[in-house]
Amino acid sequence: MRTFKQYTTDLFGGIKSLLTGLSVTWKELWTKKVTRQYPENRDMLVISDRFRAELVMPHDENNEHACTACGICEMNCPNGTIQVITKMTETEDGKKKKELDRYIYDLGMCTFCNLCVITCPSSAIKFTNHFENATFTRHKLVQQLNHEGSKLGVKKKEPTSSRPSPKEKEKSL
């Protein structure tokens, strides 16, 4: 049996706790707004370096890439996103050599699993965090990653890390 005293203490305790709640939200009303407004804040947008948004093939200033057209990425791709189309060329000394003709990447099929980048023996491809990939038609998502007229670059001694720092990424883009 609850006594009248308990009843009143319950009542006033309840009122006190309600007022505490109200005071908390009142303070919250005047706090700084945390909303980030996306298209306007592009400049100060912070996206993790490890974010995988789009596959690219970096080219240097001589329009040279590192892809030897071995096809390992194509084989490793779980859902047929990558298509490596090769052509046979002859070097000066008459040797026949397989060379990259077109590197087709279908962004619409990609699951961003990163298997292609991990397995690439010559670190020819990488993921960037350029994430604004929306298009109105699906065929625009199918991209050719090697630039027009590009060729295989001379192999350099490169650090084994396949993930260059973001600054280098910016340059290579």
């Binding site: 309600l18 109200l22 939200t25 009303l29 707004k33 945390v34 909303t35």
Partner: protein
């Protein structure tokens, strides 16, 4: 004596001019007829516009409470957001549902709308800015606003959906319980003012608002009225009928398009109606803040048009309701009924007795000073 002050911004000027012009040029019957039609159109327009403003204000204030910005894309500061929403809801398809009770299903939203429009007519928005001024205004408002619950129950019953039904039943239980408290709180104030007519009530509060006049008792009644009014609108911590996680959307689960819009509109307008009745009964309605003896101050206050006073007071109360809504967690149904039957109602009954004693023994502020 108030009429002697110059009030160029008052609506009275416009309405009396219109009345005179109509009566001069038309026979009595047609003049009255046109005036009635005009009042109806203006009320309905005000109803829609107010709902739109309220929805915008609610979304903005909600956002501020959650440290967000809120709608800010459609127009400057997003002021056209609700216009866009209303247009969207107007052109949306009303989905025909197979196994509903057709007649009741389509009638239910109108009960809600009609109940709140009827109440809307009795609210004094400003000096002589009231569609009907019954001598039993408080009683009328209480009676008519209770019609809404029929809409809710019909909606839940006719939807042929268990969630709707449970939601409607909860709403019914909640509404019936809290209507009692709201009614008693208003009765307390009727005891204090000695009248049920809104216009007289406001005149009585010219120099001392009811909330000050009845001090302790008035304050308790005010708080109880706000709580129970808030519960009646099915919002805030009392939104059990629409408990999303349990009942999808409660009684309006099966509604779509404009029919849902009606429920939505009525919800917001009910919030406004509760706030405006509270403002009228407790805070002096459209009456400016006046202090007897300070003639200059009073004169200054009268230069602010009465409808601005009214909407200002209502705005404060609506803000209070939003503040409560975004502060407290939802109650369970048993806690809800506990609060009403074990706390609000007994306190209310004692309070009404205290008020009667205060009035009879002359302990109200106007009697004392």
């Amino acid at each position: 004596m108030f009429q002697s002050y110059s009030q160029p911004l008052e609506f009275t000027n416009l309405t009396s001019w219109l009345d005179a012009a109509l009566r001069e040029n038309l026979p009595e019957f047609w003049a009255v007829f046109i005036e009635l039609a005009l009042v109806g159109v203006v009320l309905l327009a005000a109803y829609a516009v107010l709902a739109m403003i309220l929805i915008y204000v609610e979304r903005k204030i909600t956002a501020f409470f959650q440290a967000r910005i809120g709608p800010n894309r459609v127009g400057k500061y997003g002021i056209f957001q609700t216009v866009a929403d209303v247009l969207k809801i107007l052109i949306k398809e009303i989905i025909q549902i197979n196994k509903v009770d057709k007649f009741l299903f389509y009638a239910a939203p109108f009960f809600m709308i009609v109940a709140s429009v009827l109440t809307f007519g009795a609210i004094p928005f400003g000096k002589s800015l009231q569609a009907v001024d019954f001598n039993i205004g408080v009683f009328y408002v209480t009676a008519v606003s209770s019609l809404g619950i029929i809409g809710v129950l019909l909606a839940g019953w006719s939807s042929n959906n268990k969630y709707s039904m449970i939601g409607a039943m909860r709403s019914g239980a909640q509404f019936v319980s809290y209507e009692l408290s709201a009614g008693f709180a208003l009765m307390t104030m009727v005891v204090l003012s000695g009248t049920m007519q809104f216009s007289e009530m406001i005149e009585n509060q010219a120099y001392c608002w009811n909330i000050f006049n009845g001090h302790i008792s008035s304050l308790v009644a005010f708080v109880i009225y706000l709580i129970s009014g808030h519960a009646e609108t099915n919002r805030g911590p009392f939104d059990l009928p629409e408990a999303e996680s349990e009942l999808t959307a409660g009684y309006h689960t099966e509604y779509s398009g404009l029919q849902f819009g009606f429920f939505y509109l009525a919800e917001y307008l009910n919030m406004f109606i509760i706030a405006s009745i509270a403002a009228t009964v407790f805070l002096g309605g459209w009456m400016p803040l006046q202090i007897s003896g300070w003639e200059g101050f009073n004169q200054l206050m009268w230069y602010i048009p009465s409808y601005i006073w009214f909407f200002g007071k209502v705005g404060v109360l609506i803000f209070l309701s939003l503040w409560v809504r975004w502060s407290f967690p939802r109650l369970r149904i048993d806690q809800l009924l506990n609060l009403e039957w074990k706390y609000l109602l007994p306190i209310n009954l004692v309070n009404i007795l205290v008020m009667v004693i205060l009035v009879l023994t002359g302990l109200t502020l106007t009697d004392l000073f």
